[in-house]
């Protein structure tokens, strides 16, 4: 969407509020509700989507009034940023807007935790992407593989990135990032940075003709968007390599179907084709991984596991069996634990065998 159209949307929201004010009404701003109660799994796109429940954020409601004020401030600030043709981080935005309200000792925003959700509110209510608002979330992911990237005037060869890899920028939309010369055959999304480093050091991507990427834990939207593009535009299969624990599996679920808080734009972020390559509790048996490197499930793990069992997109036999096995054995397993069987076991035996035998979870 063009900047001018984005600005028009922002102005429109402002005009709407002004109209209410001129009529003497209690000004209010309609927002989609972004909670578990208002999301659903869209079987067509196979992603999480936002439902149609909305709420009114009212100026004359003592519980809403501060957020109402903050929403207006964020909208106005974004307009200014677009006018300056700049892109700023969401932390920049927080500081730009933070000031003491005249005649009080109160700040417009006390912490970034207050402004971040307001940004998401505006994205969701105006149906705009963060990138279209000229805002950038910090990104932390790295990627290497047989492909080239054109970023502005620079062309970057992602197979010549040394041990560090290429840092994924916060905006990977097609108008910023052009992907070309791909000779890789699939994408491997690795949960942990340390494991990614092992795969890079071992030149796994070169030997196995793949692209390896990590979001260093829960990936930010840029890594997810980039992987989605590789999948959509180049038909590359995506495999996820996670810890065999509820947290790792949840990250997989975010990559595949999306998250609750960003449910309004998951169609642009999620990659429903992603497959889960490992680790699984079943692997412990298959690969004869010694018992002593497994970890006992704690109460929180079990709680999380029970919740995930109920997610619609996990309601298939393979996943239910895996969850049940994890519950029965009451163990979890970290990727690094495979080092017990040799430092290169994961890259030279585990993964090739998994891919060869197509031992994936959907």
């Amino acid at each position: 969407m063009k900047d001018s159209e984005v600005v028009k949307k922002l102005d429109g929201a402002g005009e709407d509020i002004l109209k209410q004010i001129n009529k003497g009404d209690n000004p209010s701003y309609e927002l989609p509700v972004r909670t578990l109660g208002n999301i659903y799994f869209d079987t067509k796109s196979k992603t999480i989507k936002l439902g149609d429940k909305t709420s009114d954020r009212q100026f004359l409601n003592i519980a809403h009034t501060r957020k109402f004020m903050q929403t207006m401030l964020v909208a106005a600030e974004i307009k200014k940023i677009i006018a300056q043709k700049a892109t700023v981080s969401i932390r920049d935005l927080y500081y730009a807007l933070k000031h003491t309200i005249e005649g009080t000792e109160e700040n417009t925003f006390e912490e970034q935790g207050e402004s971040d959700p307001i940004i998401e509110d505006i994205e969701a209510s105006l149906n705009l992407l963060r990138e279209e608002l000229h805002l950038a979330a910090s990104s932390k992911g790295v990627i290497v593989g047989d492909m080239k990237i054109k970023d502005g005037k620079d062309t970057i060869d992602l197979n010549k990135m040394g041990s560090g890899g290429w840092g994924v920028p916060s905006n990977v939309e097609p108008d910023k990032i052009d992907i070309k010369d791909i000779s890789a055959e699939y994408v491997l999304f690795i949960e942990k940075d340390a494991v990614w480093k092992r795969f890079n050091e071992d030149q796994f991507w070169k030997k196995n003709k793949c692209i390896i990427i990590t979001g260093r834990g829960q990936p930010s939207r840029a890594e997810r968007r980039l992987v989605q593009r590789l999948n959509n535009e180049f038909d590359l299969p995506v495999f996820a390599l996670m810890d065999a624990d509820p947290w790792g599996m949840y990250i997989y679920s975010v990559i595949k179907q999306g998250s609750i808080s960003l449910s309004y734009s998951e169609e642009k972020l999620a990659t429903p084709d992603t497959k889960y390559i490992g680790l699984t509790v079943k692997d412990v048996e298959t690969f004869k991984i010694p018992k002593e490197v497994t970890i006992k499930l704690n109460n929180l793990d079990v709680k999380r596991l029970n919740e995930m069992k109920e997610y619609e997109w996990f309601k298939n036999k393979q996943w239910q069996d895996e969850f049940q096995l994890m519950k029965d054995k009451a163990i979890k397993l970290e990727l690094e634990a495979l080092s017990k069987k040799g430092i290169r076991f994961i890259t030279e035996e585990y993964l090739p065998q998994k891919i060869k035998s197509k031992d994936f979870l959907p």
Binding site: D11, G14, I21, G24
Partner: protein, 585 residues
């Protein structure tokens, strides 16, 4: 001995016979040392407050008996470490040379002890106790100036002969300057002046509140001067002696009264020694008991006394006479608190007389003050904070010590103040005043600082507090709503400017125009809410009225033995009290 009596609340705290007996066995000084605690002369701060109390009490009583509006001056000077000089002077009748010694330098010489009458100093032990204390701690005599209006005023110095418990006068001089009243000056060691809730200043403040007809000046050891102005010009009517009321009298009391009576027959003993006992009552008792009422009361057995108590319970008597009681009166308390506490809201109530175990008539007066100088000031985390203040009085005398064991404190604590919309009374700027009035106050100890928790007493205080609390609650919750409204308004208005600036960015309309419009909207909304609230309150009050009519409220649950002859005059109007006639105008 006296300490043992503490647990037996139905009885006078000090048994005069026992004291007299002990007097013969020990010297006065020894007795005094042994019983310092009993006299309230212990604790360095408490002792000084007690000294002031004893002198002030004497002055007030003397002035009232002589029908004089009291003007009292108190001065405390620091002479050295834990060494003070206390001077109290009044404009009362003064003492002549014959009585001054007995009044100020002879222990247990008071005349009030055996009378069933409400008065302040009940044991006649205080002022002489101070003389003794001065003598023991500094070796100095008490200086007295007295002017009776007849003959020349005189000054003299007093000590007590500790062996004989006899006053010793010295340095007697006639004065050439005119003086009317009594001035007493004592030098004391081992005491401390503190400006605390239990110190002399607070004691005088409360005395002034309970005695609006008195004017009290005070100079503290730093030279700071305080004046508690008179707010009532009528002197309270002196009390009269009354007999115990038959309702609530205990068996052992009948036995001991019977032993002491001059009557020759039980019938005449009952008729003469009890209140509200007519020939008709005697006839009814005759029918109910198994023995002949012509028998000698000295021969009355425990079982027969039990029968009499049982009969008393079954027969209707007229409620005890309030004539002997001296309530301060609603109007006077009202004026007095307005004068000294300057509250935003005040409600005062004097209950009808009632009776507690032993047939002692009593009466309760309650006031709740909110805002202004109400409440105790404490140093909190964010500067000065207000806390609940309970002002306890027994026959107008402030009770500053032993609050925890006092029936008044217990009554205040057992009220569910939340019911009256007083959310957290402990941290509210509230002063609760309770004056307990009786010819004989059931003190928990000889220090006379706490009222025993007699069931009837607590219940009466509670009823008064509940009724007064409702009035206060209405006011406080109204005020809270107002404060909340103001806070809300402030929040909306402070964000209005920010919103206006942002909308200006988005729409190009001038900030001032948007801001003004937003202000309008805020004010309109708050007005609407106010109307809604008023409607709700009106509905609630309507409901409360209904309940009252149907007798669901606390009022009317408890009635004294029989309806008071006197009609109460006032009715409540819009939270402000109208006053009923106090017994003392």
């Amino acid at each position: 001995m006296a300490e043992e009596k503490d647990s037996n609340n139905n009885k006078p705290v000090v048994d005069a016979d026992q004291i007299a007996k002990e007097f013969k066995e020990h010297s006065v000084a020894e007795f005094f040392k042994k019983n310092k605690q009993m006299l309230g002369l212990y604790g360095k701060i408490r002792t000084l407050t007690t000294v002031v109390h004893e002198y002030i009490t004497n002055s007030l009583d003397a002035c009232e008996e002589a029908n004089i509006l009291p003007d009292i001056e108190v001065k405390i000077e620091e002479l050295g470490p834990e060494y003070y000089e206390v001077t109290v002077s009044d404009n009362g009748p003064g003492l002549n040379k014959e009585t001054v010694g007995k009044a100020l330098a002879q222990l247990l010489a008071g005349t009030k002890f055996h009378r069933m009458m409400q008065s302040r100093g009940q044991q006649g032990i205080g002022a002489s106790g101070v003389t003794m204390l001065a003598q023991m701690t500094t070796g100095k005599p008490v200086k007295v100036i007295s002017g009776t209006g007849k003959g020349k005023p005189f000054s003299l110095e007093l000590t007590i002969d500790p062996k004989m418990n006899q006053p010793k006068m010295s340095n007697v001089k006639e004065l050439d300057r005119p003086f009317k009243g009594l001035a007493v000056q004592a030098k004391l060691k081992g005491i401390i002046y503190r400006d605390t809730e239990q110190g002399p200043l607070e004691y005088l403040r409360r005395t002034a509140i309970a005695n609006p007809h008195a004017q009290i000046k005070f100079a503290d050891p730093t030279g700071q001067k305080f004046l508690f102005k008179r707010s009532a010009n009528a002197i309270p009517k002196p009390p009269i002696a009354v007999k115990p009321h038959p309702k609530g009298v205990t068996v052992d009391e009948i036995v001991s009264f019977a032993k002491a009576t001059d009557a020759r027959k039980v019938a005449s003993f009952l008729r003469n020694d009890f209140d509200r006992m007519g020939q008709k009552s005697i006839e009814e008792i005759t029918k109910k008991v198994s023995f002949d009422l012509n028998k000698d009361p000295k021969q009355l057995s425990w079982e027969e006394s039990e029968e009499i108590v049982k009969a008393f319970k079954e027969i209707d008597f007229i409620a005890p006479s309030a004539d002997a009681l001296r309530p301060i009166g609603e109007e006077r308390i009202h004026k007095s608190l307005e004068n000294i506490v300057e509250p935003e809201f005040l409600h005062v109530m004097t209950r009808k007389p009632s009776v507690y175990a032993g047939g002692f008539p009593f009466q309760v007066e309650v006031a709740i003050a909110y805002g202004g100088k109400s409440g105790r000031t404490v140093q909190g985390q964010e500067g000065q904070e207000k806390r609940l203040e309970i002002m306890r009085f027994a026959n107008r005398t402030p009770l500053l010590f032993d609050a925890g064991t006092c029936a008044i404190t217990k009554a205040v604590q057992t009220i569910d103040w939340k019911r009256y919309d007083i959310k957290d009374i402990e941290t509210s700027p509230v002063t609760v005043l309770v004056n307990f009035i009786s010819v004989y106050v059931p003190y928990t100890g000889a220090g006379k600082q706490a009222i025993a928790d007699e069931e009837e007493v607590i219940e009466e205080i509670r009823l008064a507090l509940m009724q007064t609390g409702r009035k206060a609650g209405n006011y406080i919750s109204g005020k809270r709503r107002e404060a909340e409204k103001q806070a809300k308004k402030k929040v909306f208005l402070k964000y209005a400017t920010e919103v206006a600036i942002a909308l200006n960015e988005l729409t190009g309309k001038p900030v001032k125009t948007i801001e003004a419009k937003l202000h309008e909207i805020v004010l309109k909304r708050l007005k609407l809410e106010e109307k809604q609230e008023q409607k709700e309150i009106a509905e609630q009050n309507g409901k409360a009225e209904e309940e009252k009519k149907e007798g669901k409220g606390e009022e009317g649950k408890k009635e004294p033995a029989k309806k008071e002859e006197k009609k109460k005059g006032g009715k409540e109007k819009k939270g402000k009290s109208t006053f009923e006639k106090g017994g003392d105008e």
